[in-house]
Subunit: 397 residues, 2 copies
């Protein structure tokens, strides 16, 4: 059994803060500042360039990739870290398109994160081969998988509503129709048990700064199914994805397996911070995390619906179809979220009207949830959000 | 006048080390560990998600971009940081190709860094429009610029030999032939005065972990000339390059100017380390750096050639045609470099036979150069490299 009291003690949560935004940026592992300072002083400072070998920097993208891989059900050696999620989406989609050259439709849904859609748009436009990006409603995805579709590109959990797709069923349906799948796990890695190997996913990508607590700008990851790993063609063919990066050959030869999805020099300082978060994740079992997360979400939904009738549940009511977040619609949601943040309940707002709360058992327990509910009830029932100071729209909430 | 004794005091150089590899990975600014630990504790730890606004994280790619921009002669507001250099090469080349759609040749030279060639290969292959990547010898570049060429893509300073291209002349010649230019400044930013605006460069990219001392995996930068900035079409069209990233629109609309070249979430921890290096760069004038660098290189060449006839100068003898590094060819260069590193002289080796030494006046002075020469002389004259322990080839030196 995962000891959540023990994991909670390893995170820094400021006094007076109830942090329900770990789905956007996880909190600081207490070990990170010292570990990073030590890496800077003892590795970069002392070893200088030789740190790439002597401190194992060059191996970090694969070593940490395996630790993320355990959380998403990947076969060892088939996840690598690097770049940002948007870049990894591009890589996965480009390689997937290459595997289905005779079809012209990329199917996705309106619950996909906009950056995934933007990256697909940019790639398809660059290719100039008349590909269509077809966006359907989430519940129409299954019916839209036909033999016209080249790629099914979905984010498993909708960043807005928390709706959870059934990866295994949709992947099976896709494969039956000759469709290659690209799964974005941004809101599932560390939130919900994922089994990319069991589901037969072709490509999966995700970020490590949300539920995985890697810090602002932590690197992304990519999984390529073992059956594809040695034939996927990298569009972003950088030197560290070359079979012999330090031979400085004039022509690109892809490396073995998922390592070919490496591009440029990896961000070692970010990875060192992430490593301290993965040390905590090593203490956790995803089945326990899921069980605890559902418990927290159920309490939250029941209490908020009872106390705040002006809030409309935007997330699936059935926990089996929901990730680890709960969203409510409220027309003045931006102002309401600002009022909550001023009182220490940190969630976030997503346009046009979504108030979003993430539940992260690694450092949030039922006491936190009940304390947050009390503050939300007070703010909503007493219209404390209806003040000018909360109404101004800022770029980031 | 730049006070190089003052800048040198701000870097951590281990006792007994003569560091001539700042062209590969700059040393640690002494302020970095504390500054990064403070960012982790007081910003990530205390502000959590609100750090994106309250700590100014979201603005860092442009704010630091301007500080890098000063060193390369860019107009303020036209450099942005992010991703890796390989990704930035891809972005610049893709946008440049879009501006010259009727031509089919990308011209580069054999002195370009292999990853630039690899990224170009991958892009051109993806496009599938029959583009050719034409690689000529460095001294044949000028003559090869014809009206058949779409893009001239060069690294200003050859990573192997240190040969310096004349950016202004080649750019003028390119423009006269209707060619768009992409300059890689990896070995010039912080090494040699660059004037992208004065030279009329169209696109320029570079990294910040070499001469700029940003640390392992520090982010790259991209410059887009003001005349192109609002019409360059991003192939990597990520949400942070969107005109309204937090409106979560379903379709991509490029942002204003170079900000459209942002892609995903920026690496804030890496940028914080880089910021401490840029604090030191703010004390430096590139003309002073160049003058000092030439002085150090001239001493080094004269002393090594006098003492070590077995080493053949691979860099241009004329300082005007050389960056801030000096390379020598030696058949057993790998072993010799290992023997030097064992005695505290850290340079690096580049296949097949290049021993490379970087000169960085910010923290290397003439005393260091003469001390390094004494050790190199001893190692070479006494064949100290001719031992089994130095002969094994490792992946990274």
């Amino acid at each position: 059994m995962t000891d959540f009291a023990a994991t909670k003690a390893l995170f820094e949560i400021p006094d007076g803060v109830l942090y329900l935004d770990g789905n956007s940026l996880g909190p600081l592992p207490k070990a990170a500042p010292e570990r990073v300072a030590k890496m800077l002083t003892q590795e970069w400072g002392e070893l200088l360039i030789t740190g790439w070998n002597k401190a194992g920097w060059m191996a970090m993208p694969m070593a940490l990739g395996d630790r993320v891989g355990r959380l998403i059900g990947a076969e060892p050696g088939h996840v690598v870290l690097g770049d940002t999620l948007s870049i990894k989406v591009y890589q996965a989609l480009a390689a997937a398109l290459d595997m289905n050259p005779d079809r012209r439709v990329v199917l996705t849904d309106s619950g996909n994160f906009p950056s995934d859609l933007y990256m697909a748009e940019g790639l398809l436009r660059s290719l100039g081969r008349g590909h269509e990006l077809r966006i359907v409603a989430p519940d129409e995805v299954a019916g839209a998988i036909t033999d016209e579709i080249a790629i099914l590109m979905l984010t498993e959990v909708d960043y807005g509503t928390g709706r959870l797709h059934d990866m295994a069923t949709l992947t099976k349906r896709a494969h039956d129709a000759g469709v290659v799948t690209v799964w974005d796990l941004a809101h599932t890695a560390g939130a919900v048990p994922v089994d990319v190997a069991g589901a037969g996913a072709d490509f999966a990508v995700g970020c490590t700064y949300k539920y995985l607590n890697g810090g602002p700008g932590a690197p992304a990851f990519i999984y390529v199914a073992p059956r594809h790993a040695d034939r996927a063609v990298p569009a972003l063919s950088g030197w560290l994805g070359h079979d012999a990066p330090f031979a400085f050959e004039k022509s690109y030869r892809p490396g073995t397996g998922v390592e070919r999805m490496r591009v440029g020099t990896p961000p070692i300082i970010q990875m060192t911070a992430l490593e301290t978060a993965l040390d905590i994740w090593d203490m956790a079992d995803m089945a326990d995390v899921r069980r605890a997360s559902i418990g927290l979400c159920e309490v939250f939904i029941a209490e908020i619906e009872a106390a705040c009738p002006m809030l409309t549940l935007a997330s699936p009511r059935d926990a089996a179809h929901r990730g680890s977040q709960v969203s409510f619609r409220f027309a003045d949601g931006y102002a309401a979220m600002q009022a909550l943040i001023a009182r220490g309940v940190i969630g976030d707002f997503r346009a046009p009207d979504i108030m979003r709360f993430g539940f992260t058992p690694l450092y949030i327990d039922e006491g936190d949830v009940r304390a947050a509910v009390a503050i939300i009830r007070d703010v909503m029932q007493n219209r404390l959000w209806d003040q000018a100071e909360y109404k101004a729209r800022a770029a980031v909430t």
